[in-house]
Symmetry: C2
Subunit: 336 residues, 2 copies
């Protein structure tokens, strides 16, 4: 189903956000839809993935990846459909994933796209549970968290694209799994649908006593997506030889200055391991995870959930929502 | 050379120190020198090891080991001489190491003592470079730090019993090694005698700019013995994939309340590993290290240094000095 549009729309970074990202931080630019040359593929974007890490790419801080340049197209993972191809590996109608950014159409070297089987999973799954967030959870648990039967695992942002997979993996490993999420709806889903043993609502009451009650044997694995006060509370309940998967600290992504952290004296006496994770460091985990997870998705033993917002122009608002927990599960923007 | 005394003197804990430990926190008690029964060994203590971890054993805080009870003999590693033996494995005159505490004589089950070759190394070495502190440095580097040629390793408390070995191991691994020590004498020894590439005096000037200058390629391995402000400064200079060996945080051992720590956001983006170490967790490292280190000690390629204070009654002051950096190298008390 080829597009009949002739104009490509792209969201470029106008300025580095001060605090929460807003629509004014981006500009919508139009140019003609390009024509693929030899080895190139033209795609129309169907879905954009919206992820917390993106806040780092539009800040001026040094990070593990170079930031998006002012005037550059905003970066991000996408699912698209091939419209025209100058490469023998792709034909119009193919569904592909790539990191093609916030635009309606993309001209790509064939090597940066990967074909997916559109009948194997819902399209959004390639950006969520089977994509970067799911692989992040898998790598975090396999390479750092290493949950063992009988241990207690705590997952922050437990209803999110990463946390929901991390917790389901800890359940499969035989752990008592306790989620932390914002609000009763998310906690209900985490506990009832995903099957976590408990879920603590960090927006309600005393987090420390609730977590202490939910983890009577302490905490052996902590999958950290949030940071801030939550980190301090969880660190206080870690057991000897606990592992902390440092995946993200979303609580401070909009902050101009970072607050101080927990005193690390306990790390010595408890022989805790705290380790950071960037999923791209172990690219082999992507295929490993897809091979593991696709059957679980089909047989219904691995659940996921998504929030979809319509319209490329709403991507900045979607990112703002992700950073304040306004999404429920994987956040996606439907472009076309 | 058997003792002709008939009275045993022991230092017992009178109360838990408030801040720095003082003589009044301990009481000197006397009782008759005991007589060994079957399977028991009587020793006279020659040297006591004084180590920073001891502050934790006399505080009321929960830790990895139970605290010394009020009225109990203060714990600690010792070198002693066998005076009488009810066990076939020991004869009078044998030199033994064990954890026999702050007393002039000790009655021990044979199983808790180990004979050492008194001609293989100076007696103090069995409590320092070849003993618990040296093994701690070895295990920290082998199991967590894993220094590689071309990397930069920073060692805090670099002239101490642990730090001096940790840094020499990093040099052997081919690292650029930068020490941090208190005062020009210690820094001179660390650089000139131990052969570290540089040593920063944390008592002089701007630690951050001095360390930045000493580590032009950033920091890949940090051996943490100190904590506090030093930790924050070093963490700010860590490279991607850096390893932090959390061996101790002596800066806060006398504190009633722990200060907050560094923000851990960098751990994610830089994929840093921060891991705690208690040497007793891997008992096999002790023999491994002795086998490795004894020849280096003999051929002069592994250096060590000690501060010796005379008299059992001065052990509390020796501990106070260790906690404020008043020692230079391994702190020992000569008992008899």
């Amino acid at each position: 189903m080829a597009s009949i549009e002739s104009v490509r729309r792209s969201l470029v970074l106008r300025r580095r956000p001060d605090g929460e990202p807003r629509g004014e931080d981006f500009a919508l630019v139009e140019d003609p839809i390009p024509v693929p040359g030899a080895g190139e593929v033209l795609t129309r974007t169907i879905l954009l993935s919206i992820d917390p890490y993106m806040r780092g790419r539009i800040s001026g801080r040094a990070s593990y990846s170079p930031p998006v340049a002012i005037g550059g197209v905003m970066t991000g993972e996408t699912v698209g459909e091939v419209l025209a191809s100058g490469d023998a590996g792709f034909v119009p109608g193919d569904i592909v994933v790539g990191s093609r950014g916030w635009q309606t159409h993309s001209l790509s070297p064939a090597a940066v796209l990967a074909k997916v089987d559109q009948h194997a999973a819902p399209l959004g799954a390639w950006l969520g549970v089977l994509g970067m967030p799911g692989t992040t959870a898998y790598s975090g648990m396999k390479d750092i968290g290493r949950p063992k039967a009988g241990e207690t695992a705590v997952i922050s942002a437990a209803s999110g694209a990463v946390g929901s997979v991390a917790g389901q993996l800890a359940k499969r490993a035989g752990c008592r799994v306790v989620g932390i999420a914002g609000g009763p709806d998310k906690c209900l889903w985490v506990q009832e649908a995903l099957g976590f043993d408990d879920c603590v609502d960090h927006r309600s009451g005393d987090l420390e006593s609730a977590l202490r009650q939910a983890c009577p044997n302490g905490i052996d694995v902590y999958f950290e997506n949030v940071g801030g006060f939550m980190q301090e509370v969880v660190f206080g309940l870690l057991n000897a030889h606990a592992r902390v998967v440092m995946c993200g600290m979303i609580a401070q992504y909009n902050a101009a200055e970072f607050p101080s952290g927990p005193n690390l004296g306990f790390v010595v006496g408890k022989r805790v391991r705290i380790e950071g994770l960037i999923v791209a460091d172990k690219p082999e985990r992507f295929a490993e995870w897809r091979a593991l997870a696709a059957p679980w998705l089909r047989d219904g033993s691995l659940l996921h959930r998504q929030t979809i917002i319509d319209g490329l122009e709403n991507a900045p608002e979607a990112l703002r929502q992700v950073l304040r927990g306004g999404n429920f599960g994987k956040m996606l923007v439907r472009v076309g």
